[in-house]
Amino acid sequence: MLVRDIMSTAVVTIPVDGNVGRVCELMHERNIRHLPVLEEGRLVGVITDRDIGSATSALCLRPLNPEVLVRDVMAHPPKTAHPMDPVEDAARTMRTLKIGCLPVVEGEQLVGIITGIDLLDALLRLTGVDKPSGRVELCLADRFGELARLTAFIAERRLNILSILTYPEGHGDGRTVLRVNTLETRPLAEDLRRAGFEVLWPPAKPWQH
């Protein structure tokens, strides 16, 4: 999954010589929190609702008025992403810097923006259910061929794997979550256990031990 697959392309921007009052209006009107700042069509900074808040709050040392220019409040130079960056690279940058957005730039051109919300949407897509399916969760041994053995086992039963999510648990073995086109995940889990897989879900029922 690349940044271009999840970014918003209809980007609302503000010129560098706009004032923060206008920024505030735009953010309210469009229900957004991040504005890329442009100077002669080029990206020069980013201004966020938090920048506005901390610059103008009556609680800060020298509160600014709504006439103050964007160039005096914006963050610059901006951190950016490229449309072909993997989503996880963008996520790592945002996580490391604890920032809420990355304008997406191709050459000199601003082509999109990716925010924390887009990353949440991506997470929902990765874990989502778009076809009727049952869930099977396993702990796969950390050695070659285990995932292949699992998928072959399921293919032999003529079942279709609709999604597969594998993530490390931090101590060698990995967690694998499958969505399979069957209502009969319990019998499948029993077969998998008999074939030596460690199945976490569905579990054996307490009264059927």
Partner: protein, 377 residues
């Protein structure tokens, strides 16, 4: 008294001896009622017509089912959700599926056109079938065809789905319909097929706020199930004010079910059925249709549905089970002959995480009620 709809021809909807959706389930229940001394008679429905099926399913899908049923090339069967281990194809499957739809439709006709109040359909409940896709043992959606018919008679319908799986097909078909309320209680889609049925699925457009889902934690017991049912269902029905209640009475939330993880007992089912009948008396002047549904422990499902029959007919639920019945069905009962019509009490050892499960269900039901505030008040 309630009308019963059934046909021996339901036997034809059979995916094979190894498949859990066995027509033996209702045959066992009928035989159990006979063994208990009840003279059970039923209305014999006619199969639904192609036109009736097309009220809900697309022409392309019906054509595909017809072709596969006639043994024609099955290259794209999977595209329609057919020819899978869950919903395999067999010769004549199209007529067999239409026959089940005919039963639920006959129930709807009785309720709409006669003074009959309670109708029990000893079959049907194929709630996973979608407009253009077979899914989870279901080819045609009998419930949706019957509900559609009721709405064309000018009746508003509340659909209550107590099958352990989310009633996804019925919900999707009426997602934007303002004459149909769907309420599904099920094991959370996070854990169980089909994966949907979260509280945020509230319907679309005109149907917004009329699609209600109460997902429950795995290993939820009757006490917690009934507590959350009581919080949500009576209020939902009152808010909508339907003319008819259609209940998919799957028996697979029973603790013995081999395909799911809730832990109701037959006693919980008896309480649940009594409460549903009481709600129907209050909200729809008693007009209620019950269909069967999931329920893959033959032992549990046959007893749950026999209890359902007794309750809709205001008959006593006896304690004992005839020995002759247990012997006749010994093979199907898998060596676990029930002591009585009801499960033992307690039916299973104390459940680990009992309190956590109850708390979590309360929180989820609370969130659902919060989400319903703008629609109900």
């Amino acid at each position: 008294m309630a009308a019963l709809i059934y046909s021996r021809s339901y036997r034809a909807y059979d995916f094979g001896a190894e498949h859990p959706f066995s027509p033996a389930r209702q045959e066992m229940a009928l035989d159990l009622l006979a063994a208990l001394g009840h003279e059970v008679t039923w209305h014999e429905p006619r199969p639904a017509t192609r036109e009736e099926i097309l009220e809900v399913h697309s022409t392309a899908y019906v054509r595909a089912v017809e072709a596969l049923s006639a043994g024609e090339a099955a290259a794209d069967a999977e595209k329609w959700g057919l020819g899978t281990p869950d919903t395999p194809v067999f010769p004549g499957i199209e007529l067999a599926a239409r026959t089940l739809v005919g039963g639920t439709l006959a129930a709807a006709r009785l309720v709409a056109q006669s003074a009959e109040k309670r109708v029990l359909h000893f079959g049907g409940g194929l709630h996973h079938a979608q407009r253009e896709r077979a899914s989870g043992f279901c080819v045609y959606n009998d419930l949706a065809v019957a509900i559609k018919y009721l709405t064309t008679c000018g009746l508003w319908v509340s659909y209550l789905d107590i099958d352990v799986h989310h009633g996804d097909g019925v919900q999707a078909i009426f997602n934007a319909d303002d004459k149909v309320q769907t309420i599904s209680l099920h094991e959370s889609g996070q854990y169980l097929f089909p994966g949907t049925g979260a509280i945020h699925e509230l319907g679309e457009g005109m149907g917004r706020g009329l699609k209600i889902n109460l997902p429950l934690e795995p290993f939820t017991e009757g006490e917690s199930y009934l507590e959350q049912f009581e919080k949500v269902v009576p209020r939902a029905l009152e808010a909508f004010g339907p003319h008819v209640l259609v209940v998919q009475a799957g028996a697979d939330a029973h603790f013995d079910d081999p395909l799911a993880d809730l832990a109701l007992t037959t006693r919980d089912y008896e309480r649940l059925f009594r409460r549903i009948l009481e709600l129907a008396d209050g909200v729809t002047a008693g007009k209620v249709i019950f269909t069967l549904g999931g329920g893959y422990s033959l032992n549990a499902a046959s007893r749950v549905w026999a209890i359902l029959y007794l309750l809709v007919n205001d008959l006593q639920v006896p304690d004992t089970i005839p020995e002759a019945w247990s012997q006749r069905w010994a093979k199907h009962l898998g060596g676990k002959a029930a002591a009585g019509l009801h499960d033992l009490d307690p039916a299973y050892p104390p459940m680990p995480h009992h309190d956590e499960i109850m708390q979590r269900n309360r929180v989820v039901a609370g969130r659902l009620l919060d989400a319903m505030v703008p629609f109900w008040y």
